[in-house]
Symmetry: C2
Subunit: 392 residues, 2 copies
């Protein structure tokens, strides 16, 4: 039976064209971009070419793109770099309560360092209300950070509207766009953002490389001190092959986004329609329409998501329950709790995240495989039997 | 004419076996190590296998190895992570004055954050005196950081002796071993170190991955907040292919160190003997015997190193002047200044750093190519003509 990989939120395959472009930088052009001889020059040119491609993907200027090692580093750099550079103006930071751990925990670290962190509530669909952002901004606020799309429940946030508010209030605005760039059109001008995190591995590029867009003129301090790479904002020898791969993946994304969206929306539609027909007591999570294409998040009541995952895995279907990081931490998702999903329901969450390799036949496999797994698990569950007894 | 690459301090080629091992993790096993399904499991196992190999290379336990994205990150994590975790005990850090920028500038960042930094002098050979370390330790000292080998001048520091002192004084000891691990035998027990930075790209592994050894029981805080990867010390999705490549490169290094040393020492000897026979007013830099195999550092008086580099590059010979980072920053090397080399002489420094692909024929090429370059440049130099006029 062929495998079905529907966990693209956790990891995506590397695009073969990106890999192909990386190979010579592993084996032939291994020079250090900081070297002034010819080997260094080749590596340097490759990095600048990739920077241009990443810039074009989000509509920024080349010199506004800074390469980092992962989305987590981009998010840490955005929050800490802005906090340290602007603390004399104020020590308040506003984030949403459904951010990725790399924002949540970075904000907590800043809190321990004396910053005040405001955590914005979300509604039942996981949406941040721009009106609430506006009311939350105080004269001490230096930065607002709201993710563009939440991978766990698929909801796309009203970033452009929030951006208008922060701009009018003269407060810096960062968005973690790690899960949206490459899947939906993202343009920093339309979004009115000052900083934006994006990660190659979330658009069929390699692991080990990401970027932070920092609008020209925005003062920010480095996280890693050392050499003068990335114009002094990110020290460390550049990961040349990975940066080259990110560039190619960015170019491919820019060209393919319309096809990607329609392909993913087709898979999403079929699964969204098929699941409730086959599984009772199923609840869709996140926003019904403002959502990431290819992302279907559900809570199967009266069951633990993790047990479903493992049974599905035995049948060759790879899905997740909440985000990959959260899966391993074995805690109830802070995203679901913030959305008002009760802990028992959140435990039964399942996340299907499709990619370009998935087919409608994969959706059929899921629709055939999941219902008997759910039935089997529910029959083993005393909570379910009790609930059913009550109903009859 | 074949190229001669003798700038291994700046960048090393990736070992073909390391690359081979990485390929499946780019193309087939792309799962997120944090996923609980089978794809995640495969990635997780690969990481733990690599961790074991890295641990064996330096004689540590597996769980004492934390993967990072580069040597600069390892050094930042060591200094900042220890400073923040131990600041209640004291706010003093001791470093040498010839450290890599990722130590020098990190120490300066800590200084701006209220820490007191002591910078130890070195002698004319670039050696730190363990007696001076001992005298410099105060009750406020929480960390001593001295590099194991300076890549720019090749000198190997008396780390084991310093380690005995720090242990006796109950002060933590970090060594930046980025330029020594894989070239000379490095064992954390013999060195008496509590933390040690090493980078894959300096032992024929890939760029974009490095590690920090942290002795079990040593309290340290993370630099990147977020997920619980690397037991909470380094958040961010793991760069699986690069980590796999680092593991293979570590294994190869462990097996090959004796051959590497004898090969590199052969090249070093030939160049060291040949250069002064062909070029007058040449000065060797760094320690004459306690030095990295394959590393030859010289100052050619009355010339600028950069001009020599460019002429040599035109003849297909890639060397450097100081470290790669320093080359691009166009400043006089702080290492040379700390060693008492005057600025004019330091400007004429050239660094030959050999690798396993170099041959004795490469040394011949250098010995043939450099003298006419030097002569040509000197004839163009008014300073040289003036100095010669004085002598005659």
């Amino acid at each position: 039976m062929p495998l079905v990989y529907a966990d693209h939120v956790a990891a995506m395959p590397l695009h073969p064209k990106a890999f192909e472009a990386m190979v010579p930088y592993f084996n032939d052009f291994y020079g250090n971009p900081s070297s002034i001889h010819d080997s260094g020059e080749k590596a340097r040119e490759a990095i600048e070419e990739a920077r241009g491609k990443v810039a074009r993907l989000i509509g920024s200027q080349e010199e506004e793109i800074y390469f980092t090692s992962c989305g987590t580093e981009s998010n840490n750099l955005a929050l800490k770099g802005i906090a340290w550079a602007h603390q004399s103006r104020g020590k308040e930071i506003i984030i949403s309560s459904i951010e990725h751990f790399s924002i949540m925990h970075t904000a907590s670290a800043l809190e321990r360092a004396g910053f005040h962190v405001v955590r914005l509530p979300v509604d039942g669909h996981g949406l941040v209300d721009p009106g609430v952002v506006e009311k939350s901004i105080s004269p001490q606020t230096i930065l607002v950070s709201v993710m563009q799309a939440n991978p766990e429940v698929g909801t796309i946030e009203p970033i452009a509207e929030i951006g208008k508010i922060t701009r009018a209030k003269n407060v810096l605005f960062h968005t973690d766009a790690v899960d949206s760039v490459g899947t939906i059109p993202v343009n920093i001008k339309e979004l009115n953002v000052d900083l934006l995190s994006l990660s190659a591995s979330q658009f069929y590029g390699p692991k080990g490389v990401a970027a932070l867009f920092v609008r020209k003129g925005v003062r920010i301090l480095p996280l890693l001190d050392g050499g003068i790479q990335e114009r002094g904002l990110r020290a460390g020898t550049e990961n040349v092959p990975a940066i080259v791969g990110m560039g190619v993946a960015a170019d491919l994304s820019r060209e393919e986004i319309p096809q990607r969206m329609s392909h993913l929306q087709g898979l999403q539609k079929k699964l969204t329609e098929g699941l409730p027909q086959r599984i009772p007591y199923l609840r869709f999570l996140g926003h019904p329409t403002q959502r990431l294409p290819g992302n279907v998040s559900v809570a199967v009541e009266y069951i633990e998501g993790e047990a479903m995952l493992l049974f599905m895995d035995m049948d060759g279907i790879r899905i997740s329950s909440g985000s990959a990081c959260i899966s391993r931490s074995l805690k109830v998702s802070h995203v679901m709790l913030a959305m008002g999903v009760d802990a028992a329901t959140a435990q039964g969450s399942l996340l299907f995240s499709f990619g370009m390799q998935n087919t409608l036949a994969d959706v059929d496999r899921i629709l055939e495989t999941l219902p008997p797994v759910v039935e089997r698990l529910r029959n083993m569950s005393p909570v379910y039997r009790k609930a059913m007894a009550k109903k009859t």
